[in-house]
Symmetry: none
DNA sequence: CATGAATGAGCCTTCATTCAT
DNA sequence: TATGAATGAAGGCTCATTCAT
């Protein structure tokens, strides 16, 4: 008679997060244009009108979904940057652990797919993702690699390209999971892939005689 | 009765291709749902009604765009597979040249983006792409790597993961071009990236003392 | 339990009037359909729910606004009718003073505009205004003019038309103020207009040789 | 089998006028906000979607209705101005005939009601009506009266107020017809009213001994 | 009494698709 | 074949009204 789920929830503070969570699922599944507010509202457990108490437009919800997904990952980037800039292998292995955790516990893969798919329709979101997240991570990696090159640990070559080589399999594995696994493709074990990849690349980047 | 000025009358046979070409541009720019048939027809230089003489629905056009983009690349995959399975480096460098050409002369990047973005709405297209293109290419690479491992050219490790490691930077570079370059990000020189990547990975995969 | 700070607690009795006052402003500004209860409640200094404690529907509020504006003017009409039916000029000048005061101190102009604008949507309100106010005033004037005609003070002619001629400029001046002055038009000095108009009409209606 | 009303009318040129005509009826009846596009389309004999082939928004339709009603009346104003500037009575009687015709053959009364009712929501329409129609007519009348004063035909007094006095009963009669006649009020015979009014005012404005 | 979060019906607008010409 | 006017089903958004607190 008293507890349970009241018909009118009256939980103003929690509603936006509930909407964003539901919207993430629907947007990831349908894309922006094909996502219906009816469904977002239903999955969020409220009426369509209630959604508009917290967000002005469907676009605003989309923005909130995409922008909100940045925050937890900025921490990962920060960690990457601040991690002891000792030998490159230690840095990469430490970062890899962190990234694997993020990939497994957050929906960043789905959001990444949305950013790629809607970049032309929402350029400012692509810009935010690039400037605050992707470019930061790539830049930090690039710097670390350049440092290792200066220390003679790594062979000559474009450090930004090396950085991209390092990141790419993870990104592809995540997009693969979103794109091809649902239609029957075999997935990739992200942690195993990362481990093998780091080994390979470290090996491949190393100067002869300077193997770790 | 006589046909008047047939000068500018295109033949029926060319129309579907014109529609697919125009649709590719619009779908790549807007995504499936936000693309308007009005715009596709206009860019194809015909009326909206004419489009429906050649395609039943908007979805059919989308399917045609995505499926048609497979053909030229199947050739690349076939080439990769049929290439003499001699030393891995030769294979990779040959394939890379081919792939670079495809990337530079076809809109495969845009179509890849569409496949990723609409995989949930058009699972059969994701499946076609996977089965006929991506899995084939990955499988062929995997086989080649496994063969090299058997010959003692390559270190132990999951050959399928090695294959993913090999192709990922190209895919990411292409998606990067579609997603972040339009909002001001610095692009990647695909040929240089591929060259450096193959060198790095070959180095990294090689057994000690078996360097190429 | 004790009531806390009753300082700013308005009494229940005053709330309806506050609502009607606020609603008048909003209805006059936006029209019935475009007026939002949110704004009425806000201007009345209470919550939307509180409004519904005193009125059943938005329509009821509108009716209250329109009907309430009748009362003070019914008095004017009564006064006009009961005024000693002496010479017409005295009557008109007395009434004019009264009417001018009403126009200057009440929002009757705004309400008149609402009645005109919403007559088709609220016919019973148009009827009330007509039956209780406009027709009464016009009828009283008509009778007074007919009486003056019988006494030989006024030229032959349709007394009801004379009555309309007499009141029209005031009505138009009021609607003009509501409609065109806000977009930059020059207004009319109601008292001066009334004075000149009564002079003109009295002159014009007078029988030759019977000038006042 | 051939003539009749084809299901698809294919009469692009006539559609806008049909829409405006239907919209005038609906707007006059319901007001802008309460008018439904469904009903406008139905009365215009087409689907809702067809309306949007010719007008961008509901507001555009409203504007078209209000602006279109100006054109025929601008002619009346021009006529008023250009009419032989001889003795005032001739001018007024000539103009009155013209105006009566306009009132009887056009829906200007309904549009005037709409302008008054929606002036706050569409100020630019109120401005257009004032600047191009009402102020022009009032100004021309004012000038004619001032000229007559200069010639000694008319008594001293504010000529603009005289002009308003002249116009007002017509306007009020028209609004009366729109507002109170539908709820049972007795109407006014516009031509008779105009004739009596002009007589009265001319009498009333005339200098003693200068009667026409 | 009072609040304001929540509801849900309704409307404007869009756009894939059809069809008379 | 080709056209493009026309259709009609949705969907985003609003807002009068309700109701748990």
């Amino acid at each position: 008679m008293d507890g349970g789920e009241p018909k009118f929830r009256r939980r103003k503070d929690e509603r936006p997060a509930e909407i964003v969570e539901a919207a993430l699922a629907v947007f990831a599944e349908k894309g922006f244009a094909a996502a219906k507010l009816d469904e977002i509202a239903r999955r969020a457990g409220m009426s369509k009108g209630a959604v508009y108490l917290y967000f002005e437009t469907k676009e605003e919800i989309f923005r909130a979904v995409v922008v909100r997904a940045i925050a937890p990952n900025v921490a990962a980037v920060k960690a990457m940057i601040s991690t002891h800039p000792g030998p490159l292998p230690d840095l990469l292995r430490g970062v890899a652990r962190h990234v694997a955790g993020v990939i497994e516990t957050t929906p960043i893969g789905a959001v990444l797919k949305m950013v790629v798919g809607e970049a032309r329709n929402f350029p400012e979101l692509a810009r935010v993702w690039h400037d605050e997240l992707v470019a930061q991570a790539l830049g930090a990696l690039t710097d670390a690699i350049a440092g290792a090159q200066a220390r003679g640990e790594v062979r000559p070559g474009d450090p930004r390209a090396y950085a991209l080589q390092l990141i790419s399999p993870i990104l592809v594995a995540v997009l693969w999971r979103e794109t091809f696994v649902p239609v029957g493709a075999q997935g990739f074990d992200v942690r195993a892939l990362m481990a093998q990849h780091i080994d390979t690349i470290l090996h491949g980047m190393a100067l002869e005689g300077a193997r770790s």
